[in-house]
Amino acid sequence: MTSESSVSIRNVSKSFGRKAILKNIDLEIQKGEIFGLLGPSGAGKTTLVRELAGLDSPTEGENYVFGEKMPSLKLMKRIGYMAQADALYEDLSAEENLKFFSSLYGMKGKHQNERINELMELMGLSDHLSERVGHFSGGMKRRLSLVISLLHEPEMLILDEPTVGIDPILRKSIWNFFYDLNKKGTTIIITTHVMDEAAKCSRLALMQRGIIVASGTPESLKKETDTETLEQAFLVYGGD
């Protein structure tokens, strides 16, 4: 493990009962990367990122984040996690949701308000601060959910299928936002099953049935398989 490593997954296996979800995963994610976990549904992507977020622990092996073993409450303060579900309190307003979650990170007063306003502005939601989340559109909910995972200025952001069900324009602006965050030093881990989204990552791991079948930059994966597109590359690795 280098000193620049944000995540180090060491021989991690996970099973629920007799069903093996993850099998002997080894993976290093460097600081400042936009790392993509690409694979079909059921490949074990969510299980893996939940472990990195501290929500689950491996049956075998260890996960290290920032050089310390997960799960740890101390580390969770430095991580932002956004699940597939928007996980918002629909009967509360956007502001009430934001205040609630930011106070779980110990934020309060002026700093809390400034951070909320700054992020809502960035996501173009400033006008909807006092609106009930139940009245939000799907895209607005997703953006609000993203804002919540960023409130405490995490060093690492874990996003489980962040742009599913989002229109192309919004998807583009969210990705631009990811690039900006990344430039400021935030490590981003994204799960996806969409190829063109995977192509935007700086490095990728291809997952299938709980195994990492290949990893590298999008270019190197295409080169190794002598293919034109990531999709073809994926088929080469996954074709059994």
Partner: protein, 342 residues
């Protein structure tokens, strides 16, 4: 044929959901069995003291169907009633029989009066008894069924609704993914449980104050004791309902499965809370009462509202209720490990 396709799908779902299926069959069986055992219990046998009744008279009295104790003086008999050993006593004053009753349970009152009347019937030549003179330790002849059952029902309804709301809101927390989001922050598990506890407790104070106030001042439920003591009892009971509701909700996958716990966890408590006379409950079941929170709350509520007892008489039951809550809190924290190990 869409209708049949739909019916088929519903049946398939039902068959997959073994628990719902089991509940639909076994819950009614369980409840009916309990009702049977509760109602088909023994006849109530009153405990009666006889104060200074001359030997020749007692010999002529019909002594069956009651536990009879003879006393040399009235003070001892009075203590017997006050401590709950006796339901009442009889003395002869100026040739007229006087009956002194414990008085808080109208059902027991009438059992005692019925017994005294039939016992004294043997003494009279014509078999007719003059009107009995009655005196009461608690309450009066005006105490009605509502006064007697009111405190129990008050406790029960608060328990029921707090149990259900807490449970369902915790399920919603889980199914909408907000619990996972909560757990992805550095919050500790006990903080989640306590957060729920305090939030609901605050609401419950308001809720129970309004309901108790309404029952006592609008519905004119008998209220001898201090209002704030009633609130303490209800609050302690609500905490057990809340912690139990959240605990039970962890074993339900959706709101409907939460509802399924009502006949299992909530309804049986009614039977052992004193709504039905606890002395007549079949021995097969009587041990359940002390295991249910409502049992203690109902007893204390009656003590305060009917008998006018104060803090020193109810604090023990309050402590037991708090102990219930504490156990449920610890179990809740352990169960949350299901969702996050640390």
């Amino acid at each position: 044929m869409k209708v049949f396709a739909l019916s088929k799908r519903i049946l398939q779902q039902l068959i997959r959901d073994k628990r719902t299926l089991a509940l639909l069959i076994f819950a009614p069986i369980l409840v009916l069995t309990m009702l049977y055992l509760v109602f088909d219990g023994e006849e109530y046998v009153p405990e009666i003291g006889l104060v200074n009744i001359p030997e020749p008279v007692t010999e002529k009295m019909e002594m069956s169907d009651a536990g009879v104790t003879e006393y040399q003086n009235e003070v001892e008999a009075y203590h017997g009633v006050a401590s709950g050993r006796l339901d009442g006593y009889i003395k002869i004053e100026g040739g007229e029989p006087l009956v002194f009753l414990e008085g808080s349970d109208p059902g027991v009152n009438s059992e005692v009066i019925k017994w005294v009347q039939s016992a004294l019937a043997g003494l009279e030549e014509n078999g007719k008894v003059a009107d009995l003179e009655l005196d009461y330790l608690y309450g009066s002849e005006d105490i009605g069924t509502f006064d007697y059952y009111g405190p129990v029902l008050l406790g029960f309804f608060i328990f029921f609704f707090v149990f259900l709301t807490a449970g369902v809101s915790f399920i919603r927390e889980r199914t909408t993914g907000t619990l996972e989001r909560l757990l992805s922050t550095p919050i500790r598990k006990w903080e989640i449980v306590m957060g729920y506890l305090i939030g609901f407790a605050l609401f419950t104070v308001l809720q129970s104050a309004i309901i108790a106030w309404y029952a006592i001042y609008i519905l004119d439920m008998l209220m001898v004791g201090v209002f704030i003591d009633v609130l303490w009892i209800i609050l302690a009971l609500a905490l057990t309902a809340l912690t139990l509701g959240i605990l039970v909700s962890s074993f339900a996958n959706n709101e409907f499965q939460m509802i399924q716990f009502i006949p299992i966890v909530v309804v049986p408590q009614i039977f052992f809370s004193g709504l039905f006379n606890l002395d007549t409950i079949s021995d097969l079941l009587s041990w359940i009462g002390p295991l249910t929170p409502l049992y203690y709350a109902a007893e204390s509520l009656r003590d305060v509202m009917i008998r006018g007892y104060g803090w020193s008489d109810i604090y023990m039951n309050l402590l037991i209720l708090l102990l219930f809550s504490l156990i449920f809190i610890v179990l809740n924290i352990l169960v949350l490990r299901k969702y996050r190990k640390i």
